[in-house]
């Protein structure tokens, strides 16, 4: 425990967010890059270091809090959203971050995840999606592709996977984004936007598990081909991609499709609007090989924040009813024996 340097928020640097614990992911794991980018963003958010709390479940990804020199709670498999909810309700002024994996968040923790999203607590959820169970050494997860051969599916998985963003949208999420472990700048931007959003921010981070699911996202990380496979979303900009920026997305009736850009169809290209839930639904569904993988902020709308509603009721109750212990004891019929 370092008697840490008590700096002004504005003076913090990445180093201030590195804990004294040796980082213990496999060499080459995508988690390193995510950690580094998050540590880079935290000093810039204007929040005193002691007001950050990282809450995680169990999994490789969930070791994250140990490496960030803020408050942290490495909880139970799947339960981080529940524990974070109690923390945030008690201490709304804290900046609460949930770090989770595809198994932690979508398998055992699915229920807590959908409920924290619908309630819209003001927390930031970073889901490290490596499409595998890393810590338990390689079983398929609810995001593994059908047919996946893993330790627990030697003949291939017969499960249909979740699309995390679509599930979150179905659960009434108010902020959806996707980014990639190795896209340093993009990841930082998305994390910043997630923090800026008031309410629950749900960020899917595509993360390579080089031990048990290496190359799961090669199409969007491989330098040579990624431009053809990433659809980088920008607010108010048309959905154009490709090395030559020669392809775009347009609607064909109620279904989106990829088209080769030319002068005749440029105006038909969809323009990104993060307030549009239908667009969010369509983007959440776009998966390779038919579509490029959308990255960036997919959805970002306002809705009342849960803990503010709670606080407001408490304020009102205090104004209306006071809060006197003696009165509470004597509530109802009392009688005195002398």
């Amino acid at each position: 425990m370092s008697i840490a340097n008590l700096k002004e928020p504005g003076k913090l640097t990445k180093k201030d967010f590195e804990s004294d614990q040796e980082v213990r992911w496999c060499p080459g794991c995508g988690d390193y890059a995510i950690l580094a980018q998050v540590q880079r963003v935290l000093p810039d958010l204007g929040i005193p270091r002691e007001n950050y709390v990282f809450v995680s479940g169990i999994g490789c990804s969930s070791r994250f809090p140990y490496y960030v020199n803020t408050y942290g709670f490495h909880t139970l498999h799947g339960r981080a959203p529940a524990i974070a909810t109690g923390l945030k309700l008690t201490r709304p002024e804290l900046s609460v971050w949930i770090v989770t994996g595809d198994g932690d968040a979508l398998s055992i923790g699915g229920n807590h995840l959908i409920h924290i999203l619908r309630r819209n607590l003001d927390v930031n959820i970073l889901l490290f999606n490596n499409r595998i169970y890393g810590l338990t050494k390689g079983q398929y997860s609810p995001t593994s592709e059908p047919g996946k051969v893993t330790k627990s599916t030697p003949d291939g998985s017969v499960d249909n996977p979740f699309k995390p963003l679509v599930l979150a949208l179905g659960a009434e999420a108010t902020f959806l984004a996707r980014t990639i472990d190795v896209e340093a700048r993009h990841l930082q931007d998305v994390v910043r936007r997630a923090h800026a959003h008031r309410g629950a921010s749900f960020v899917e981070i595509l993360q390579n598990c080089n031990i048990f699911n290496d190359g799961a996202f090669n199409d969007v990380t491989d330098r040579d081909i990624k431009a053809e496979h990433q659809l980088v979303l920008e607010e108010g900009k048309p959905m154009i991609f490709g090395k030559e920026r020669d392809k775009g997305i347009r609607m064909n009736g109620m279904r989106p499709e990829v088209v080769q850009l030319d002068s005749t169809n440029e105006s038909e290209i969809l323009v990104h609007d993060s307030k549009n839930p239908v667009l969010a639904y369509l983007l959440g569904h776009m998966t390779p090989p038919e579509f490029p993988t959308p990255i960036g902020v997919i959805y970002d709308v306002d809705r009342p924040v849960y803990e503010e509603g709670v606080q407001q009721q408490m304020r009102r109750a205090r104004e209306k009813r006071g809060g006197n212990l003696d009165g509470l004891l004597k509530r109802g019929d009392v009688w005195t024996v002398s």
Partner: protein, 619 residues
Amino acid sequence: MSDGQTTFTKERQEVETVVIRFVGDSGDGMQLTGTQFTAASALAGNDIGTLPDFPAEIRAPAGTLAGVSGFQLNFSRSEIFTPGDHPDVLVAMNPAALKSNLEDLPTGGMLILDQEAFNEQNLKKAGYAANPLTDGSLDRYRVFAVDITRLTTLALKDSGLSNKQVLRCKNFFTLGLMAWLYHRPIEPILAFLAERFGKNAALLDANTRAFKAGLFFGETSDLFTMQYEVPPATIAPGTYRNVTGNSALCIGLIAAAERAGLPLFLGSYPITPASDILHDLSGHKEHDVVTFQAEDEIAGVGAALGAAFGGALAVTTTSGPGIDLKSETIGLAVKTELPLIICDIQRGGPSTGLPTKTEQADLLAALYGRHGEAPAVVLAACSPADCFGTAIEAARIAIKYMTPVYLLSDGYLANGAEPWLLPKIDDLPDFRVEFRTDPSGYYPYLRDAETLSRPWVVPGTPGLEHRIGGLESEYLTGNISYAPANHEQMVRLRAKKIAGIAREIPPTKIIGAESGKVLVVGWGSTYGSITAAVRSLHRDGLSVSQVHLRHLNPLPPDLGDVLRRFEHVLVPEMNMGHLSRVLRAEYLIDAIGFNKIQGRPFKVEEIVTRVKKLVEEEA
């Protein structure tokens, strides 16, 4: 009626103790009748004990056996401890209510019935082949068939209310009649009506009229030749109120949070019979109470643990099935050493079991129901009012020792009520929390030399940033450690911390002789029955002593000595022998279980008989 407006003229007989059971259809308002009679009796200065009995269905079809709702009240001029084994008086609003309760009425008992309700349709619904009012089957009782329905209707004929509304007033007619019969003060009841129906003049008027009609019917009808009177008990001076266990628990938690200087956080998921705590606390936001109805029990306790990490007095409430689900998270609380109160309002099990009935069969689960070595504190309340004090003790220990504490109550305590001598706030223990803020020399698992407790540091404290979690921690630093010796040290430390709490437990109070033939040891809600039984045995001249435990883990340090001073140790429990198993293992004493698993409390006489048998076997 001493100071009433009405003067009654019939002969009045003094009696020591009366047990009345009101029974009717769920729609008949028997709970209300019972609680109003109770409030009046309390104000009359009697000692009281009550037991409501809810039907398992929300609303079973009217008139059926499944829909019967009951409320039993024991009021006395002397100290009493239970709602009474058997009713002296059974007030039955319909045949189904009669049928399902008659077996409890002793021969010669008084039976007050709504005559008109014994019609063909209702008799059939209750499964009566013949009308018991006329077939002689009630000859063993003192039957008073009152035409309650007709008399209520008559009294309200110009009220302008619908027929349905009029019939809803039957219970106040009945209450009036019973108030007359037992000469209860009527002002509190009238005051209640004024408060309840204040906004609806027609209903206020109707219920008041029905109540008075009942009162006057008693006085004028030839049916009743005398009134009874239960003089006031000699009761410790002070201010009293009537309180249920769940309500006392809520007040205790709020008071504890205030004494600790912390906000109160409840994370819970509804379940019978614990839900009322959630309901009650939800209405007390003005006391800095946050209630969170979670998506399930796991989230309920998880949120509570998060709140504890954030610096609240954190509580989760549930009943049996929820205890199972919460156990993993409670294990994390043990490991991370955060304060947490887990209230288990026990009900009949196993599995979904008998949700509306009472039982004490979660003790072993509270003690041992977590994987690994995960010792936690276990306390139990022994009466409705004692839920208050037990809640405060739970909070005090949780905070001082940074540990989860189970608080065991049960359906019987939760819904039962008794008069409660209100404590003075300044007499409550003061355990104001000072979170650690000083970074110098800080480690997350630094230990207080006396309590072995670690420091409570809340997020937001500059310079004390740290991480905790469920993996084994290194002594002091709290860093993850898989070192064999460290693990053994930490396991033993956690055990020692909990065991050390014993040092604070006051000497065991023995009711009766300090040593002798028989000691009756109990815990939880059997307190009333055991105490009444032991008193009764004392009156019969038997040498029996009694110990009732609040602290179940750790146990009182002197308990082994106490137990060894008796030839026989009898442990009545509403389970298959949880405490007796613990006592046997702990003290190698041949504790004898006396077990009743019927979803119902012990009758006093059952315990009396069992103890007598033990003494006789001995002889």
